[in-house]
């Protein structure tokens, strides 16, 4: 099932040649220990799209996200966010990120976490307080609003991570495995919320290990392996292209075997 309006907008964006939410050209990252995490990677994420990035552990997903969000120092290439240089203040203000590992400030309550985050992103304090108050309700965090992060359950921490990522109303939301370790009920809650966000015009880049999650949510999917994009299309397009019945089969044929790594992929 595709998100109805978001999918349509995405198709229009692709056909109409609308601007990209994210453009990566020749992006490389070699860590100090010599590991090549990103290998001259090219990728375009169309504005308004719900874009999935799939790949095994160590494929470079989190490094890619870190490079886009000013959390990793790329060793080469170019990043543009809505046409603006990656790492610029303007670009950073347009991105919201929910990282894979809950990284919440241990000294702050739920409400304070959100209010300070709003401040970091340039919101007036009274606006941040009002916005935090609204988003606390959206994510059912009201009962824990004055609880400090270390005392929250795993599910509550996930909700807070997502709420924090969205607090400053970013145009591009990056979700790094947002449903990892989350129970089914919360996963569906998160899906519903993310879909709603996408329908309202927010571009979303999602990484996940759950193939059915990518197939359900994402209008377009890129498969990453060894720091390179090895395949990219809609879920149906990928299945047709690799003559596979399921996305899992595509995954096994591309990422697991590296078959597609020799094929050129349009950015």
């Amino acid at each position: 099932m595709q998100p109805r309006f978001g999918f349509l907008r995405e198709r229009v964006a692709i056909i109409g040649g609308m601007s990209s939410a994210l453009e990566l050209r020749g992006l490389s990252k070699r860590y100090d220990d010599g590991t090549l995490a990103l290998d001259s990677l090219d990728l375009d994420v169309p504005e308004g799209s719900f874009f999935g990035l799939l790949g095994p552990n160590g494929a470079g997903k989190t490094t890619l996200i870190g490079a886009v969000c000013n959390l990793v120092r790329p060793t080469g290439g170019e990043i543009k966010v809505f046409g603006l240089p990656g790492g610029s203040l303007e670009a950073r203000s347009m991105i919201g990120i929910a990282e894979q590992e809950p990284n919440l400030d241990r000294f702050l309550t739920v409400r304070e976490t959100l209010v300070y985050h709003g401040g970091y992103y340039g919101m007036r304090r009274q606006d941040a307080i009002a916005r935090a108050d609204r988003i606390i309700d959206v994510f059912d965090l009201r009962a824990k609003a004055d609880t400090r992060a270390p005392k929250l359950s795993g599910g509550m921490r996930r909700r807070l991570l997502l709420a924090r990522a969205l607090l400053h109303e970013p145009r591009l939301v990056i979700l790094d495995e947002p449903t990892a370790g989350v129970d089914v009920e919360l996963r569906h809650d998160l899906w519903r919320y993310i879909r709603r966000l996408h329908e309202q015009g927010t571009s979303i880049l999602l990484t996940t290990h759950y193939l059915e999650e990518a197939e359900t949510l994402c209008g377009e999917i890129a498969l990453i392996s060894a720091g390179r994009i090895v395949a990219r299309d809609t879920a149906d397009g990928l299945k047709r292209r690799y003559e596979a019945e399921t996305l899992e089969d595509v995954y096994l044929k591309t990422v697991a075997t590296g078959r597609a790594s020799q094929e050129p992929v349009a950015p």
Partner: protein
Amino acid sequence: MSATEASPPPAALDARPRPWRGFLALALRECHRVLRLWTQTTLAPVISSLLFIVVFGLSLGGKINQIDGFDYEIFIVPGLIAMAMAQAVYSNNSSTIFQARNDRYIDDVLAAPMHSSQMNLGFQVGGVFRAVLIGGALTALAIPLTGAPVEHPAALLAAVVMLLAGFGALGIVVGIYAQTFDHISFINNIVILPLTFLGGVFYSVDRLGSPWEQLSHANPLFYVVEAVRYGFLGSSDVSPWLAFGVITAMAAALIASSQYLFATGRKLKP
């Protein structure tokens, strides 16, 4: 989760960054942390420094001759305040950065639309706030207890500013490089504390014989103590210009180091 009835509005169109608001929020967060842990961050250092003044100054001071024309309990006040403030700003900044790195919530700051200088300065503010609370409380208590004067308030203010800038930046640098809390404690217990004690907090280095007097002049903490002592008592073992010159150079070098780390992301970002 009530996504439909209370979902956020569409993505904001006005995405102009306002980095000074980010800096203010970070500075407030750092002060918030100090106040949340006030018994550890403020009360304990005030009590321990006050005990030094009471035990060494008021109890034993009567048995010690005047130093540089001042009663002993008065002579030790500037050095003790300088030592408490230096330790406070260093400990605060090193631990706040280390914890933020260790738990990775520093990412929320690094990803935000702020200049590197604003991040650096924002993290400094908590330590400065804590040191000023401690220094202010100690001054307010020590002056009526001992009768210590403040001869040159402007010089005292300048010395304190340099002390806070230098030790605050040192805390940032150590907090960024530290792999464990032991590294932070090591610098405090094995470097700052001994050098401060040997920098003339409790005695005048003029009274030391050669080569200890000369060695004391190679100790940068000596100049910090002397600059603060000049502000309080109006006298110091070395020229106040030399003391201010050394601590200004030290502060500038350490601030440049911490700014280099934020500007390049070295050790903060892989």
